[in-house]
Structure formats: C-alpha cells, structure tokens
C-alpha cells in the first residue's frame, strides 16, 4: 500500500515538474516586468526576479505560481499603491523587499494582499514603510513565515497593521518580526491558526490584537514595548504557551488584556516589567498555570466579572502588587502558586505553606477606588495597614486566597 502511495506521489511530482517552467525577470532579460511574467506564466511555473528596483503599481497574481526574488529585489509602491495582490491557490511569494505602500482612507493598502485564497505563502520578505504589511482576507491554510515587517507609524489612525487577518481559517504565522505598526498582529474572525515565534515590538497600539478568533494557538511569541501592550477579546479556546510579554509600561499599557475570553489555556508565559501584567475582564474558565510574573506593577488585575478561572503553579516575583481586584466577589481559584511576599511558615517541610496567602493588599484596593492615594505609596502607614489587613482581612476579599502557597519558586 505504502509503495503504491509513493509511486503515485512520485509520478505526481514528475508530471508537475515536467509542466513547470521558470521565467526569469530582470532589466537585462527579455521579460523586464514582473506583471508581464505573471501574465505569461501558467499554473505551477516559477518566476525568478533579478535584483533591482521595480515600480509596477499593483502586481496581481491569480495563478498557482511561485514568485521568487534573488537577493531581495525591491518592489516599490511609490506611496500610492498596494504592491502585490494575490487571489489564487498554491501561490508563493518569497524573498522580496517591499517598500512604500500607499495609504488610503477608503481601501486598505498593504504590501502583500491575499484575498479569497487557499494555501498561499509569503516567505522571507522584508517589508519597509508599509501601511498594512501582509493582509489576509477570507483565505485558508496560508503560511506567513520569516518576514521582517517594519513601519514608522506615528498614530493609530494613520497606520495599518503588520499582519492583518480577517475571516480566515487555518493560518500558520511563524517567525515574523513586526515593528512600528498600529497593531503588530491583528486577527478578526480567524480560526484554527498557529502563531509561533513571532516578535512584535514598538507598535503604536497593540502587539497582538484579536477578536472573535476562536481555537487559535500562540506559542513562543515575544511582545515587547508596545504602546498599549496586548489586547485580546471575545474569543474562546485560545491556547497561549511560552510567550513573553515585556516592558509594556505606561498609563494604559497591559502585558496582556483579556476581555471576554473563555475556555482557554495560558501557560508558561513570562510577564515582565509591565504596568499591569495580566488584566482580566469577563473571562471564564481559563486555566493559568506555570506562568512567571516578574517585576510588574500589578501582576494580575482580575475584575469581579471573571469566574471559574484557575491560577495554579505560577510564580509571582518582585511585583509591586500581586493581585488587584475591584470587588469582594471572588469566583476564581488560586492554588499552589509561589508568592515572594508570602510570610507564612511550613511546619511539615512539604514545601506548602501552612497558612493561606492573601494576594490582594489593602493598599491596592485603596488605590483602585481612590487613585489619589498614590501620595502615600510606600509610606509607613500603608505598610502598617497592609500588615494588619493580612492578619485580619476586612476590606480585601476574604475568599481571594491561596490555600496552598508553595514556599520556594517553582522551577519552570
């Protein structure tokens, strides 16, 4: 059976490669324009583009071809046009430098626009000064890999998103570097996708922003120094593993803001030096485990509108406030976390503290209801109040506690 399969495969490739031809494009060659080469080509062909500067307005591809740049030929949008538009299946765009797309109030203009397509790949391109970087709409099984996407956005209104995906399914987005856009990664109505090893930094708004995008997996991405951190909303079945949320420091900046996220799994992530590491609003049934919260202003802010979320085996180290909340209703559980501010003891030497830990400090409640109390930050009275509150909780929610805090940091 296996042999037959191999045979079929081999014969398929033989036929396929016999058909395919290579068209070379360059200033000195017979075909000087990429669009001309695309028009000449047939499904399965490869177009190789010599280095040089090409100003071709919008290149439209509606065939299954491979468009490949040698040594990063430059495609310039002259600040007026989108650069490549693809409406096809099995098409690849690889190894180009795309720069200066147009900006439009009416249409979204980007460097690589993928519409209604299937199995399209954008690999290893360099995008500079683009409005939208890579724009995927209504497509399936597309791959966006190893692109470097840089923009110089000044404000939210003027700039577009780095990788913008809308109403798509089964995308694979790997190893892209995105900088200076409005949102680094943007997903709306995107399902079943994998987002892996991307680096999204210094964007004007969010590092990643998704809404109504269920069943996606985010692994080993780095989101750093974005103006407002990361915000994700109205989605369910999200998996987030080993991501880094770093240095999102500012008045309204969050390491990650979760709003109406349900049935999700968040694990192995690092939240470091954010004003608010993790902000949760209206979230349900999220499992948060083995995350590290390090040196944040607030490690976690969990609104009373969240329920059935479970925090276990996380490390809370060096945060100004461990947990902040806005009400006395607590429907979430905290078990077996490490808190560096825990002052209890462990008589049985089983590494589990014998008294519960209350991670909400009184002062964080005071600040939440009365921000002007900042003036008393780190004063003697505040530490005294906090100490008394720890012993006899009155203001802070009594149920928000970790009954089994561990004594030593959990090695992750």
């Amino acid at each position: 059976m296996k042999k037959v399969l191999y045979l079929i495969l081999i014969s398929y490739f033989a036929v396929f490669s016999a058909d395919a031809k290579v068209i070379k494009v360059g200033k000195t060659r017979s075909v000087a324009f990429i669009q001309r080469a695309v028009d000449l080509s047939q499904n399965g062909d490869t177009i190789l583009v010599d280095p040089g500067l090409y100003k071709e307005k919008n290149i439209i591809i509606q065939k299954s071809i491979t468009l490949k740049g040698i040594n990063y030929p430059v495609l310039d949008g002259e600040n007026k046009y989108a650069i490549i538009s693809i409406k096809a299946k099995n098409t690849t765009v690889e190894g180009f430098k795309l720069q200066h797309t147009g900006r439009s109030e009416i249409r979204d203009l980007g460097a690589i626009m993928i519409y209604d397509s299937y199995k399209v790949s954008a690999l290893n391109n360099i995008l500079e000064d683009t409005n939208f970087g890579i724009y995927v709409q209504n497509s399936k099984r597309c791959t966006i890999k190893d692109n470097s996407i840089t923009a110089y956005g000044k404000d939210e209104v003027q700039s577009g998103n780095g990788i913008h995906c809308w109403r798509s399914d089964s995308l694979i987005i790997i190893g892209n570097k995105i900088k200076g856009h409005r949102d680094g990664l943007y997903f709306e109505f995107v399902k079943n996708s994998l987002i892996w090893r991307n680096v999204s930094t210094q964007n004007v708004r969010y590092g990643i922003h998704f809404m109504f995008s269920n069943r996606n997996t985010y692994v080993s991405n780095i989101f750093e120094r974005n103006e407002a951190g990361v915000a994700v909303m109205y989605s369910s079945n999200i998996r987030m593993y080993n991501n880094h949320f770093l240095n999102n420091w500012g008045d309204a900046a969050y390491g990650i803001l979760l709003k109406d996220i349900t049935d999700s799994d968040i694990s192995g992530n690092h939240f470091t030096k954010n004003t608010v590491g993790l902000h949760m609003e209206g979230c349900s049934r999220i499992k948060l485990y083995k995350n590290i919260f390090n040196n944040n202003g607030w490690a976690v802010k969990i609104q009373a509108s969240c329920d059935k979320n479970d925090f276990s085996r996380n490390n809370f180290i060096g945060n100004t406030f461990d947990i902040g909340t806005n009400g006395s209703l607590v429907l979430n559980t905290f078990t077996g976390n490490y808190w560096d501010k825990y002052e209890g003891y462990d008589l049985f030497k089983d590494n589990i503290g014998d008294v519960p830990y209350h991670p909400v400090s009184m002062y964080s409640m005071i600040i939440d209801s009365n921000p002007a109390a900042l003036m008393l930050f780190r004063s003697l009275i505040v530490s005294l109040l906090d100490k008394t509150e720890k012993i006899l909780p009155g203001v802070t929610p009594e149920n928000l506690r970790d009954n089994k805090p561990v004594m030593r940091p959990i090695s992750l």
Binding site: D251, G297, P371, A372, A373, M375, L376, R378, S379, L380
Partner: protein
C-alpha cells in the same frame, strides 16, 4: 561663632551614639544591597529605612543633645557671645555631624551600588531630612525646659510626620472621595517633608506609570526641573521655619 561650631562638631563626632548610628546605617545599607538580587530593589528597601530611621535618630539625638548641653549653653550665654550665634552654631554642629554620619553610613554605599540620578536624589533627600529634623528638634527643645517633656514632644512630632499625617491624609481622601483631589495631593505633600522626599524619590524610580492619572499629575508637577527645584525649595523651607521660630524663642528665653 566658628569656634563654638567647631567645639560642637568635635564633641558630637566623638559621641558614641553618632558612631553607632553611622555604623548601623553602613551595616544596613551594605547588607540590603548585598542581600537583594538587584541594586534597584535594594534601593527600595533602603528607602523605607531612610524615611523612618533617619528622621527618628536625628530628632531624638538632637533633642537630647541640646538638653544635655544646657550647662554648656548657660556658660556660653554668660560670655560676650550673641545668643543667635550660640543657637545657630548648635544647629550647624548637629546638622553637619549627623549629615556626615548619614553620608558615610548610607550615602557612600548608595553611590557605590546605585550612583545614578535616583541614588543621588535619595542621598539628597536623606541629607535634607536629617537637617530638617535637627531643626524640628531645636524647636521642640526651645519650647519647654523640661527634658522629659521635650523628648516626648520630639517623639510625638516624629510620629506625626511619619505616621499620623499620612493617616489624616488617607482619612481626608476617603471623606472627599468624590472630588478631584490630584492637585490637592501635590499641595498636601508639601505639608510633610517625609512625604515630599518620598514622592520625589518614587518619581525618580519610574513608578508613576503605575498610578494612572494621579501619577501623571505628580509626574507633570515634580518631573521637570521646576518641580524638582520647587520641592527642594519646600524642603529648605522646612529647615528654615522651625529653626527661625526656635531662634526667636531661644533669644527671649529665661535660662
């Protein structure tokens, strides 16, 4: 005046308590910096010590010292020396020697481990607090002749500045919760030298972003050069006023 000042300084520097104070500060600062994993955290722990310990030692030591040298003062008054210069030399001697103690005890370790703008602000604040609480101690000592009463008063003053005042502010905040109090808070911080120093240091530590709008207001006020100058001016006022009042009292006092 120079001579008296010299006597006072030499006398205090030889004092065991001041030596112990210096040594204790040195021990605390070094151990804090060595124990904490990074220097910034060490600085934060040291902040609490400076804000509590420095005013306490300064005010109590100075009060006791003035009472103990009452005979020396009486002797000086019988000489052809102005009362003003006696009192000012006492103040100068106390302030200089305690500042020196603070600088050796805490200033040098801070410079060694964290010698940037934050560290320097912290040292300056510590020095100012030392001098301010010497000045307040002079006031307490000039009010009453009774040593016990005087020391009690100075402890009470310390308690007021480090605890009671903040409690009152907190109370006020909750009473007037519905009003925009951010600018009022800036004003309140000027009413207490410890708060003023603390806010100044915390803003250096880039914590203001934590506090949203209030932080922004504080940063806007204290974050620029004018604000820094204003707050150090405020601290200077805190030295001048108690000293001035005590000087008035001392020059009319029946010894």
């Amino acid at each position: 005046m120079k001579k008296i000042l010299k006597y006072v300084i030499v006398d205090i520097i030889q004092n065991k308590i001041v030596l112990i104070y210096t040594f204790l500060l040195l021990l605390i600062s070094l151990s804090v910096f060595n124990l904490e994993s990074n220097a910034a955290k060490g600085l934060l722990s040291l902040l609490n010590i400076i804000l509590i310990l420095v005013p306490l030692i300064s005010i109590i030591f100075s009060t006791i010292y003035i009472y103990n040298s009452s005979e020396f003062i009486e002797l000086l008054v019988s000489q052809p020396v102005k009362r003003k210069s006696i009192w000012l030399s006492l103040f100068g001697g106390l302030a200089a020697s305690l500042s020196l103690a603070f600088f050796i005890g805490a200033g040098i370790p801070i410079l060694m481990y964290h010698g940037d703008a934050t560290g320097i602000t912290m040292i300056l604040t510590g020095l100012f607090l030392t001098v301010i609480f010497v000045s307040i101690a002079m006031l307490a000592a000039s009010i009453t002749r009774d040593k016990a009463k005087g020391i009690g008063l100075s402890i009470l003053l310390w308690l007021y500045f480090s605890l009671i005042f903040d409690a009152l502010v907190l109370f006020f905040l909750f009473q007037f919760q519905d009003y925009p109090l951010e600018s009022a808070m800036v004003f309140f911080s000027f009413l207490n030298p410890i708060d003023l120093g603390r806010v100044q240091i915390l803003l250096q530590m880039d914590i203001s972003a934590l506090m949203g709008y209030t932080g922004a207001i504080f940063r806007e006020f204290f974050g620029n050069q004018v604000g820094v100058a204003l707050s150090f001016f405020g601290l200077s006022i805190w030295i001048a006023i108690p000293l001035f009042i005590s000087l008035k009292k001392f020059s009319r006092k029946d010894l």
